[in-house]
């Protein structure tokens, strides 16, 4: 109850003195009756036999207290809301000042004002409701914050006698008030975020100095270096592999493929790629309408940006990014990962060629060592229990049982 000392001053901003007095009175009554009730309850519990009377009495007191609480609470919330509305309305009438307030000069000005105010006393501010400038708004908001805090405290104390419904309503109301006071404050008189000044400044300086200069140049250097090893942005990928072809059939020879080599297949259109060897890692990027048949991969298979393809392979991991309408016939040691994909279909590996078993062993993927997890697809863009819409199992009737044929050596 003592927590509301500031309230009178705050109330005078918008409502008249009489209204405020009445409210204060009501609040005092409420406190007094609350205390009386507690005393009564205490007595009742001591007197044992008269417990029934005490309970009746208590119930009546509870109702009274609740009614009083509700009354003062509603009046208070209404008043705070009104004050907030007024502040917002006033700030709109003087847009230039608010705008200036966000600048450094405005902030300094506000600071000075705030320092000067305590000397003038609290009543001074309340006597002039339409305080000018940002400092006034800031002051008023501070007062409002205190009032909402007071309300919250009273609500907490009211748990003793309020009904569950009333209590919840009051708590929600306080929460709403708090949020609107905070948002108004953010809008009208934003607080400066705490920051280590010198560091922030240093960072800013670096950024400014580097704005078009150093970082850009560094990036240029970095890119140039990559370019030397590869070419443009796309060929920057470099490394062993085949790239940029259309309508071709490519059979990758044993010299190009090796279990310690990673292999890149990128930017192909309407091609057939056959790699009947063991690889260290396989990357497939931006393939359109292609068929890729690849022997066992000792490490991961990485697929990105493929469209309308058929991919037949085996590997330890399979990660698929941003691809559409691709059929996978795979043997994988762990469930495939898909991210930003749609229309993917999966079936167990249909790969078969003379050295296949031997190659599987070389890649550590032989049957005894690995269980094929081809159907354990994990979709990073689908977090529900139901089946992800982005992938399906290829129905038996549609499976290319002949994928072994296309893998067969010529």
């Amino acid at each position: 109850m003592e927590g509301n000392k500031d309230e009178p001053a705050a109330g005078q901003h918008s409502s008249g003195d009489q209204e405020e007095l009445r409210r204060q009175q009501a609040h005092l009554n409420f406190s007094a009756s609350h205390q009386a009730r507690q005393a009564a309850r205490h007595q009742a519990s001591n007197n044992g036999g008269e417990g029934d009377v005490g309970n009746d009495d208590e119930a009546r007191h509870n109702e009274e207290s609740a009614a009083l609480f509700n009354e003062t609470f509603t009046a208070d919330t209404q008043d705070i809301t009104n004050t907030l509305d007024r502040l917002v309305a006033e700030s709109k009438q003087r847009p230039s000042q608010t705008a200036a307030g966000t600048g450094l000069a405005g902030a300094r000005h506000a600071h000075g004002e705030a320092k000067a105010l305590p000397g003038k006393g609290h009543s001074d501010t309340s006597a002039a409701p339409a305080v000018d400038g940002e400092s006034g708004v800031r002051e008023e908001l501070d007062v409002l914050v205190d009032r909402v805090k007071g309300l919250r405290k009273r609500t907490a104390e009211a748990t003793l006698f309020l009904t569950v419904y009333d209590l919840r309503r009051a708590q929600e109301e306080v929460g709403r008030l708090w949020a609107s006071v905070e948002s108004t404050r953010a809008e009208l008189a934003p607080r400066k975020r705490f920051a280590f000044r010198s560091k922030a400044k240093a960072k800013g300086r670096d950024a400014r100095r580097g704005g078009g200069g150093i970082p850009a140049r560094e990036e240029g250097l970095a890119r140039k270096r990559v370019d030397e090893t590869g070419g443009g942005e796309k060929e920057a990928e470099g490394g062993p592999g085949i790239r940029g072809m259309k309508g071709r059939e490519v059979d990758v020879s044993a010299e190009d493929a090796d279990k310690d080599k990673d292999f890149n297949v990128a930017d192909l259109d309407d091609c057939k790629v056959t790699i009947l060897h063991v690889l260290g890692a396989l990357r497939l990027r931006r393939l359109t309408s292609c068929r890729v048949v690849c022997g066992p991969v000792r490490g991961p298979i990485y697929v990105e940006g493929c469209r309308n393809c058929v991919i037949v392979t085996a590997g330890r991991q399979l990660r698929i990014h941003e691809s559409r309408h691709v059929d996978f016939y795979v043997l994988v040691a762990s469930g495939p990962i898909i991210e930003d994909c749609s229309g993917l279909r999966f079936a167990p590996a249909g790969l078969r060629y003379p050295e296949y078993q031997h190659h599987l062993q070389a890649a550590g993927l032989e049957e005894d060592a690995v269980t094929n997890a081809w159907a354990d697809v994990k979709d990073f863009k689908w977090h529900r229990a139901q089946q992800s819409p982005n992938w399906t199992v290829i129905p038996d009737s549609e499976r290319e049982s002949d994928s072994l044929a296309m893998a067969a050596p010529k």
Binding site: D206, G210, I214, P215, E218, E219, L221, A222, R225, V226, T229, G230, A236, E237, G238, G239, P240, G241, D258, D260, K261, D262, N264, A266, G280, A281, R283, R285, G299, P300, Y302, R316, Q317, R319, H321, A333, S334, G335, I337, E339, D340, G364, A369, K378, F380, K381
Partner: protein, 186 residues
Amino acid sequence: MGLLSILKKVKQKEKEVRLLILGLDNAGKTTIVKKFNGDDINAIEPTLGFNIKTMEYKGYQLNVWDVGGQQTIRSYWRNYFEQTDGLIWVVDSADRGRLQDCKRELHDLLGQEKLAGASLLVFANKQDLVGALGAAEIAQVLGLESKQFANRHWSIVACSAVTGEGLAQGVDWMVSDIGARIFMMS
């Protein structure tokens, strides 16, 4: 200074080091942790969330947080920044196509206030692959020499999680750097 020295003492007692391992997906983060810890690396699945491993190394207790690098879950990385003593950034040195992505993500990370004091170890992983770039080239591409890193304790070590080569060298640097910084030894 008072609080700082108390914190240092507490940490010194336990010699506990918190390491955060990050990098793009498919960089080999989990494989590095498992290989370093002497676990089997043949059954590693893509990390859906994160793994925590506690291990003893040269008198330190390493609490290693290995967080998945898939694009979708990168936004959750920041949940792991708190109290990180060392950041291990893992790069797939053979994946040239994503080095610019890799650079961007790393620079984003190092701009984070909560990681401001963390030592940075870059593992240029997958050196077992023929197409892998060397540590110097990776450092160049990631812009590690730039002014931005001038105040950062960083090192880059070429490694292969598959063969285990380079791992101990990297972690050695990490613990000695953190040790010198936090535990005021040497």
